[in-house]
Assembly symmetry: C2
Homo-oligomer: 649 residues x 2
Amino acid sequence: MGNNDYEFKQCVEIPPPQPFLKSLASSIKETLFPDDPFRSLRNQPLSRKMVLGLQYFVPILDWLPRYTFGFFKADLVAGITIASLAVPQGISYAGLANLPPIIGLYSSFVPPLVYAMMGSSKDLAVGTIAVPSLLIGSMLGREVHPKENPYLYMQLAFTATFFAGVLQASLGLLRLGFIVDFLSHATIVGFMGGAATVVCLQQLKGILGLVHFSHSTDVVSVMKSIFSQTHQWRWESGVLGCCFLFFLFLTKYFSKKKKAFFWINAMAPLTSVILGSILVYFTHAENHGVQVIGYLKKGLNPLSASELTFGGPYLMTSIKTGIITGIIALAEGIAVGRSFAAFKNYHIDGNKEMLAFGMMNMVGSCTSCYLTAGPFSRTAVNFNAGCQSAVSNIVMATAVMITLLFLTPLFHYTPLVVLSSIIIAAMLGLIDYEAAIHLWKIDKFDFMICISAYVGVVFGSVEIGLIVAVAISLLRIVLSVARPRTFALGNIPNSMAYRSLNQYPAAQQVPGILILHVDAPIYFANAGYLRERISRWIDEQEDRLKCSSKTELQYIILDMTSVGSIDTSGINMLKELNRSLGTMCIKLVLANPGSEVMKKLHKSNLIDDICKEWMFLTVGEAVSACSFMLQSYKQKAKAIDTEVSDNNV
Amino acid sequence: MGNNDYEFKQCVEIPPPQPFLKSLASSIKETLFPDDPFRSLRNQPLSRKMVLGLQYFVPILDWLPRYTFGFFKADLVAGITIASLAVPQGISYAGLANLPPIIGLYSSFVPPLVYAMMGSSKDLAVGTIAVPSLLIGSMLGREVHPKENPYLYMQLAFTATFFAGVLQASLGLLRLGFIVDFLSHATIVGFMGGAATVVCLQQLKGILGLVHFSHSTDVVSVMKSIFSQTHQWRWESGVLGCCFLFFLFLTKYFSKKKKAFFWINAMAPLTSVILGSILVYFTHAENHGVQVIGYLKKGLNPLSASELTFGGPYLMTSIKTGIITGIIALAEGIAVGRSFAAFKNYHIDGNKEMLAFGMMNMVGSCTSCYLTAGPFSRTAVNFNAGCQSAVSNIVMATAVMITLLFLTPLFHYTPLVVLSSIIIAAMLGLIDYEAAIHLWKIDKFDFMICISAYVGVVFGSVEIGLIVAVAISLLRIVLSVARPRTFALGNIPNSMAYRSLNQYPAAQQVPGILILHVDAPIYFANAGYLRERISRWIDEQEDRLKCSSKTELQYIILDMTSVGSIDTSGINMLKELNRSLGTMCIKLVLANPGSEVMKKLHKSNLIDDICKEWMFLTVGEAVSACSFMLQSYKQKAKAIDTEVSDNNV
């Protein structure tokens, strides 16, 4: 089968062989350093390199010299606004983690300072976060009772925070930030919604003034726990809770209506706390079933490095808690940072953020803070208040410091029910049912992931929901490779383009030639499938031809454009396919094999089996060559026919 | 930005919306029924459908009517040949599983008959297999000691076999055959090599005549066990073993040299058994440290359905053993069946094979047989002996039946060391170092998978090796999606084709336009990566332009040919990319988005953001349109320049 009569412009290239170590190094670089972080350091003198390197790890050195008084005015307003949110939220979320309220305040002092130096986001407001707080509460609570053994419990919480920080920092240093990418948008929507539901259900304890409560977080146990003790419900607490909830929703509604009123919403929690405390102080409601915070120690964070325990029977618990809460905090923090960076059109380096989060939690765990990250609500307020840089975090920390030094006694009479209302109001905003509807409209599979995460969290536990959602997400990736779509291509009239017959009804099939597009790398996971699917394509094509008695199928062109890579199972499959097509008198033709594929075809000698002349740069050229062969074959047949009939004559 | 001046031939089509249930049904069909098994049943009358359906599940009904005497002659020779291999192999492999030798003979009688009726391979010879036998021995041996509690041990072995059969049959019925595909060629090469090494090491017990031996299978424990009891080594046994090993290798060598002498190799095991037995009988070597098989019960398989235990403390052990050994047996059997089917160019239905294997093991477990599949060695002999159909299995079963009824006393004096030699000779053929070298040459990643499987099996355990290899294989798939390659395209001179600049040095970049090809579906796992990688492409391009002061970058064309699918995270990424490119005055242009992508772009309204006019069928058309805009822009700028200078004049 020579096709010397037909001339081609360019044959398919086999890339030159590369030394193994060089190609290994380049693929590691593409996998772990896709953003080439030290690009700007190249071709610089050593001293400049040092400065740039330091600025890379401590961004404040980079931007502080350019900081102006105008920026500071904006940051001051934003910082005070978020401080008014940070104090009640800190106290409330510490309650979710079953930690003393003061730990929540401590956690809003040191970590924001660390983040301000190392973080790369201009909008992120650092503080405690609801879902990981709840997780700490439920995971540690299973091992150590927070009421019976509060000191050990606190030690474990600090140790878990330390491990979370170590994990976050090492993920950042090892450039493994992409692990967070596996928590897809859909997973996060479902997971956050489920966690918010669970957190709200937990608040019924505070609203109804209950003392005993289920340790499980799933909806069934919580409902059982609530309705088994209806006689314990306190109406005073309930009424107070409902009033504050109404107040908080009202302020939210106003802020939503007019953007300029964002501060109403931001100030509402602090206002509620003040109103609630005054009310309790004057009515002595603490004696009538309304639980209050009680005594808070004055003074700054005590050191807690000596509380970290790296041994004993609970080490595995704190490591496990640290890993899970650390990853979730990271995912939330980075997602929040990225969203607001996208608004202002600057860029956040995920690996750098992880390092900052890790350092902040490691330092935090040594200064009586528990796990912190960038909560969405606080960051949104910060953004709306017009923050210009991480200095707003420093302002907030200063305000919290003043609170710690002088104002803690004021919180003595703050009723717990107000804190519950604040949490519920914040959490209901996280149940993003509109996003779920959007997912359903655009991508059913993503919707399924979202719903499984939600159901898993609400009816199982936070971990179950997370694992199920990640497993389904991974299944999607594996399925997309294991079951790649194949489709037949046809010629778009008046062009050399060949496109899917399904997508373009105008496309026309070429008689005698079947053009197939394969939509994934050919790996072990799909080699068997592709073999069967291609043979079904051929059978179906032949059935159709039988009915219409058109030209017999003589060529199969595989469009390899999307086959980015191939492994040995794939090579074997192509070999077998070529052989079995050979016995059916069908020629296998390849169009546009990529460099990886050509390399392996060459190494495995499959290139000689198929013949290099039967590989083309484009589908169009492949079709031209095949059509040319078909026609010359027909002409020969005709010539023989004529000869025979001539002889007969 | 209108481009009315430029006319396009065909715009990118959005596929018509499909009802959700219909698209769900079609994707389930493509996932689970890629081969459309009941294609031939369509448009047939009911009675014909019944017949075809029955023939589908019991293929013997299909081919037996066409069976000829010529075929039978060939099958008779092949059947007797494999029977001579089946008897010693059955006895030896039963020993690997710590089961009485007679069970091995039973297992070569009933299962081949079942397979002959239901199997779709013409060459597969059914029998016990080495690796799963070893696995049964080690997994059950951990829970129940086979010597101290032989009856319970046997019950567990039958129960495990039953569960293996249930698993295999249900995988076949549920069309989940593709699970076996996840054991890639590389995994199987490494795993089989490792298992063969482990099995050979175990045989040192028999060769050295040891009585006590390690229960672990890893090389360290086995070596410790051997060298800690050097004083127990029996030289009689060792010499006998070496002699037989030499004999077996010699026959193998002869058979390899001349294909016609295949029967020498096939008969060698039986010859060794006969010679060994005669030797022991006349020298009374059983009294001098040479262990023999001993008494074997005459008679056919007793029923064992009542021995299956579906409760008690060992249920989980038998289920786990059944699942792992069942999958490995399946993988080996199907791989073997497929390879030989490929030689003779017929087709094997994986799901149907699973059903046949499952039925054969379920029936087997009720008739005193343990796990069977299609061992490579026996099938190869069957193939070489010229078998024509599964009737050779029936002949073998008949021969084994005759052995069971009349000849068992002959095996009384068969020395165990001969069986060990037979196993070693068979196993060394499975260590396919040539395949491993081939893997290294073609695909380094596959080589790594192979070596991890080998090391895992030899130094850890069979399960560890398997899990590690499968995990690395899956990692490859996930990485191929999480880190897709992107490459810049250039124009191939004298054509409209645009190809990778790396692969085709002749390709030329178009000034002012960056054309990027993305090599995977855009999913959550790579959305973040692609965002960073594309922005790095732009930065690098702009750096290069700065040096050479060429036309500024104004257009980015994304070649979406290989982007088969996109999820909501991907859509968000494109949205952000479009927005951030907009602020940099760069226009995002899409070339050849597929139907799935167009559907989602349409649903998410991203199509309006990018403008449908900026989506093109081919990269060539996109480049033409962009170049046209660039030129008209330049001309306008020139015109203004001229005007200004005219005015100045």
